[in-house]
C-alpha cells in the first residue's frame, strides 16, 4: 500500500505552519533559526512530493539547492547570532532593534 501524495502535502503544510508560527511568536534567535529550518524542510518535502507525482526530477534537484542555501544561511546566521550574543549577552531578537527608523 502506498501513502497518497496528499498526506505528504498535509505534513508539509503542518510543518510549515509550525515553523511560521514559531518564527512569529518565539523570541530566542536560535529557536527562530530552527523554525526557519523547519519551514525550509517543509518546502523541501512539498518539492519532493510534487516531483514524484509529476514524474519530474527538477523538484528533487531544487531540494539540493535549498539544502545548500540553508547550510550557507546557517553558517552566516549563526555567526551573526554569536556576534550579537557576545556583545550583549542575550539572544532575544526584540532587544536588537537599533535599525528602527
Amino acid at each position: 500500500m502506498t501513502i497518497p501524495a496528499a498526506w505528504y502535502l498535509i505534513v508539509s503544510a503542518l510543518l510549515f505552519g509550525i515553523g511560521a508560527l514559531g518564527v512569529l511568536v518565539r523570541r530566542n534567535a536560535l529557536v527562530i533559526f530552527m523554525c526557519i529550518e523547519l519551514m525550509l524542510n517543509a518546502a523541501n518535502l512539498a518539492l519532493v512530493t510534487f516531483s514524484r507525482v509529476l514524474h519530474d526530477v527538477g523538484g528533487q534537484a531544487t531540494v539540493f539547492f535549498v539544502l545548500v542555501v540553508a547550510a550557507a544561511e546557517v553558517t552566516v546566521g549563526l555567526g551573526i547570532v554569536v556576534a550579537i550574543f557576545r556583545s550583549r549577552n542575550s539572544a532575544i531578537v526584540d532587544d536588537v532593534s537599533e535599525m528602527h527608523g
Binding site: L24, I32, V93, D94, S97, E98, H100, G101
Partner: protein, 620 residues
C-alpha cells in the same frame, strides 16, 4: 575707386580692434589719437569712394564681400551698396565723426575710462557705416543694432550715476520697441518677395498688394520712430543727454538718430506705393517737429534744449520724407549734422569750461570769456534759426517747399515749428552767452564757479571746421539734389513755380527773423520767465507721465502682484508644499521601520496571506 568702400569699414573696425586689445597700454591721449586716425582714414576712403562714383556713369555699385546665410531660394550676402545715397551718408558720417573724435581727446581729458570711450566710439562708427552701406535689410539691421548698443554703452557711460544708468536702459528699451517694426517688416518682405536686398525689394515692391505695402511702410515708420526719436517713441532722446557731450553731438544729433530717416529714404520706392503710409509719415514728422519745438522753448538745461531741438529737426526730415521730398530730407540731414554737431560741441565746450554746469540759469556773459566758442556758437545759432545765407535756411526751406506741395496744413505746422526753432535757440543763446555772468555766485545749493577758460585747440578746431561747414552747406542744395536723383527716381514731389518758391523762401526768412527778434526782446536781460515756460512744457507734455500711467504703473503693479502673491503663494506653495508633504509622509512611514524582526516577519506573513487570498478569490 569705388573699391575703397570696404576700407571705410576696415578702418573703423581696425581702430576698434586695436583699441580694444591694446587700448589700455596706449593710454591717454594716444588711444584717442589712434581712434581719431582710424576714423580720419575712413573719411579719406569715403572721399575716394565718392570721387570714384562721380567718375562713372553707372551710379549703383554692389560690392559683395562674402556669402553669409543660404536661405530658402536666395541667400544673404554681406555686400555693400555704393550709390549716391550711401556715399552722401558716409561722407558726412565719417567727416563729422572724425571731428568729434578729435574734440573728444580734449573733452574726455582726465576721465576714468578714457580709452573705453574711444573703443565705443570707433565701434559706433563701424556700425553706422555698416548700416548705411549695407545692400540688404539684414546687414542694415546688424548695423542698426550695433549703433543701438553703442548708444546704450555711451549714454550710461557714467554708469555709477543712477540717472545715467537708467537713461541708458530707457534709450535701449525704446529702441527695441521700434526694432520690432523693423524685424516684422523684414520678415514680411522676405516671405512675400523672397529677397532682402534693397534693389530686389525696389523691383518687387509693385507686385505687393496695396494693403501689404501700407503695412510695410507703417512698420518701417515705427522702426524709424524708435531710432530717430519721433512720436510716439521720442522720450528717450532727451534722457540720452546723460552721456558725455561728444556722444550727444555724434550719436544723438548728427548720425545715429538720422538712421530712421535714412531707412525710409532707402525704401523710397516702397514708400511711393502707399499714399496712406506717406500721409502717416508726414503727419508724424510735422507733429514731432511741432511738439518737440514747443517743449524746447521751456527747458532749462542747455543740452535738453538741444535734444528737443534735435527731435524737432528730425521731425522736419520725416515730414520731408512723407512729402516725397527725399533729397530735401537728406539735405537737411547733412546740414543738421553740421550745425547740430557744432551746437552740441559748443555746449560741450561751455560745460567743460564751467566744470560740468548745464543749467542755463547759471551761465550768462560767456561772450568775452570763451571767444572761440562764442563765435562758433553764434554761427550755429544763426544757422539753426534759419537766417538766410546759412545752410539751414536752404535745407529747411526745401523741406517746407516739399511740404507745401504735399499739404498746406502740414506746411503751416512746419512754419510754426520753424518760428519756435528760431525762438528757443535765441533764448538759449541769450541766456548762455549774453548778460551778466551768473556762475560766479553760489545758487541752488551749488558753489560758485571760476570764470571758465577757453577749451584747448583740439576742441576749438572741430568747432571752427563745423561752423564753416554749417555756414556754407547751403551751397550743397542743388548739387546734392542732382547727385541723389538716380536714387530717388520716381519721387512724386511736384515742382513749384518760381514765384511760389520765392514767396515761400521769403516767408521762411521772415519767420526766422521774427522768432529771433521775439526771443531777443523777451529774454534780453532776463533769466526766469515762468509765464513763458509753463509746467506743461517743462514736463514734456506729460508724455513720460502718460507712459508711466498707462504702461509703467500697471506693469509695476503686475510685477508686485507676482512678487507678493504669485511667487510666495503659488510658486513657493507648490515647491515648499511638495517638500512638506514628503517630510510629513516620511515621518509617518518611518514608524513602520521599528527594527523588530518579528513584526517584519508578521508583515510578510500577512502580506503573503492576503496575496494568496487574492489569487484564490480570482481563480474561483
Amino acid at each position: 575707386m569705388v573699391a575703397a568702400a570696404p576700407w571705410m569699414l576696415a578702418f573703423a573696425l581696425g581702430g576698434f580692434v586695436v583699441l580694444v586689445t591694446a587700448g589700455r597700454r596706449l593710454g591717454e591721449p594716444l588711444a584717442g589719437w589712434v581712434g581719431t586716425a582710424a576714423i580720419t582714414g575712413a573719411f579719406v576712403c569715403a572721399v575716394v569712394t565718392w570721387l570714384g562714383l562721380l567718375g562713372q556713369s553707372d551710379r549703383t555699385v554692389t560690392i559683395t564681400l562674402f556669402d553669409w546665410l543660404p536661405l530658402a531660394g536666395s541667400e544673404v550676402k554681406v555686400a555693400l551698396l555704393v550709390d549716391p545715397l550711401s556715399t552722401t551718408m558716409c561722407l558726412f558720417v565719417t567727416g563729422v565723426s572724425a571731428l568729434i573724435h578729435l574734440y573728444s581727446i580734449g573733452y574726455m581729458h582726465g576721465e576714468r575710462d578714457f580709452t573705453k570711450f574711444f573703443v565705443y566710439l570707433n565701434l559706433f562708427v563701424f556700425s553706422m557705416l555698416l548700416l548705411v552701406l549695407a545692400d540688404n535689410l539684414l546687414i542694415t539691421f546688424i548695423g542698426w543694432e550695433g549703433v543701438g548698443v553703442c548708444s546704450y554703452w555711451l549714454v550710461s557711460y557714467y554708469f555709477d550715476k543712477d540717472s545715467a544708468a537708467s537713461a541708458g536702459k530707457k534709450a535701449f528699451i525704446y529702441n527695441r520697441v521700434g526694432d520690432v517694426g523693423f524685424l516684422v517688416a523684414m520678415f514680411f518682405l522676405f516671405t512675400h518677395l523672397h529677397t532682402l536686398t534693397y534693389l530686389g525689394i525696389a523691383k518687387g515692391a509693385p507686385t505687393l498688394s496695396s494693403t501689404d505695402v501700407t503695412l510695410v511702410v507703417l512698420l518701417l515708420l515705427f522702426a524709424a520712430t524708435g531710432k530717430s526719436a519721433q512720436i510716439p517713441l521720442f522720450n528717450w532722446l532727451p534722457d540720452a543727454m546723460e552721456g558725455p557731450t561728444p556722444v550727444s553731438a555724434l550719436i544723438h544729433a548728427a548720425t545715429m538718430v538720422t538712421a530712421g530717416v535714412y531707412l525710409l529714404c532707402r525704401m523710397n520706392q516702397v514708400l511711393d506705393l502707399s499714399t496712406t503710409g506717406r500721409a502717416t509719415i508726414a503727419t508724424i514728422g510735422a507733429a514731432t517737429a511741432f511738439v518737440a519745438a514747443t517743449i524746447a522753448t521751456s527747458q532749462h538745461d542747455i543740452k535738453k534744449v538741444l535734444a528737443f531741438s534735435t527731435v524737432s529737426q528730425i521731425g522736419f526730415m520725416v515730414l520731408a520724407v512723407g512729402s516725397g521730398a527725399y533729397a530735401a530730407a537728406i539735405f537737411l540731414m547733412v546740414a543738421h549734422a553740421f550745425y547740430k554737431g557744432l551746437l552740441f560741441l559748443g555746449a560741450g565746450s561751455v560745460i567743460h569750461g564751467l566744470d560740468g554746469e548745464q543749467e542755463l540759469s547759471r551761465m550768462g556773459g560767456l561772450r568775452t570769456l570763451m571767444v572761440w566758442t562764442y563765435a562758433t556758437f553764434l554761427v550755429g545759432w544763426l544757422t539753426i534759426a534759419g537766417v538766410p545765407p546759412f545752410s539751414a535756411f536752404f535745407a529747411k526751406g526745401d523741406v517746407l517747399k516739399g511740404a507745401w506741395s504735399y499739404s498746406k496744413p502740414l506746411w503751416a505746422i512746419g512754419v510754426v515749428a520753424a518760428l519756435m526753432t528760431a525762438y528757443y535757440m535765441t533764448r538759449l543763446f541769450v541766456l548762455a552767452f549774453t548778460g551778466d555772468p551768473r556762475f560766479l555766485a553760489a545758487a541752488g545749493g551749488r558753489p560758485a564757479l571760476h570764470p571758465p577758460h577757453e577749451s584747448p585747440w583740439v576742441m576749438r578746431l572741430p568747432l571752427v571746421v563745423l561752423a564753416a561747414c554749417a555756414a556754407l552747406a547751403g551751397l550743397l542744395g542743388s548739387p546734392l539734389d542732382r547727385y541723389l536723383a538716380p536714387v530717388f527716381t520716381n519721387s512724386p514731389a511736384v515742382p513749384l513755380s518760381s514765384s511760389v518758391s520765392t514767396t515761400l523762401g521769403i516767408v521762411d526768412g521772415v519767420v526766422a527773423v521774427l522768432g529771433l527778434g521775439l526771443a531777443w526782446m523777451l529774454w534780453r536781460g532776463r533769466v526766469e520767465r515762468p509765464e513763458l515756460t509753463p509746467r506743461f512744457l517743462e514736463r514734456v507734455w506729460y508724455w513720460d507721465d502718460l507712459y508711466d500711467a498707462v504702461l509703467g504703473r500697471p506693469s509695476t503693479a503686475l510685477a508686485r502682484t507676482s512678487a507678493e502673491v504669485l511667487d510666495p503663494v503659488v510658486i513657493d506653495g507648490a515647491v515648499v508644499g511638495t517638500a512638506v508633504a514628503v517630510r510629513r509622509g516620511a515621518r509617518e512611514l518611518r514608524r513602520l521601520q521599528n527594527g523588530q524582526v518579528r513584526s517584519y516577519a508578521l508583515t510578510i506573513a500577512v502580506g503573503l496571506a492576503l496575496l494568496v487570498a487574492y489569487l484564490l478569490a480570482r481563480t474561483f
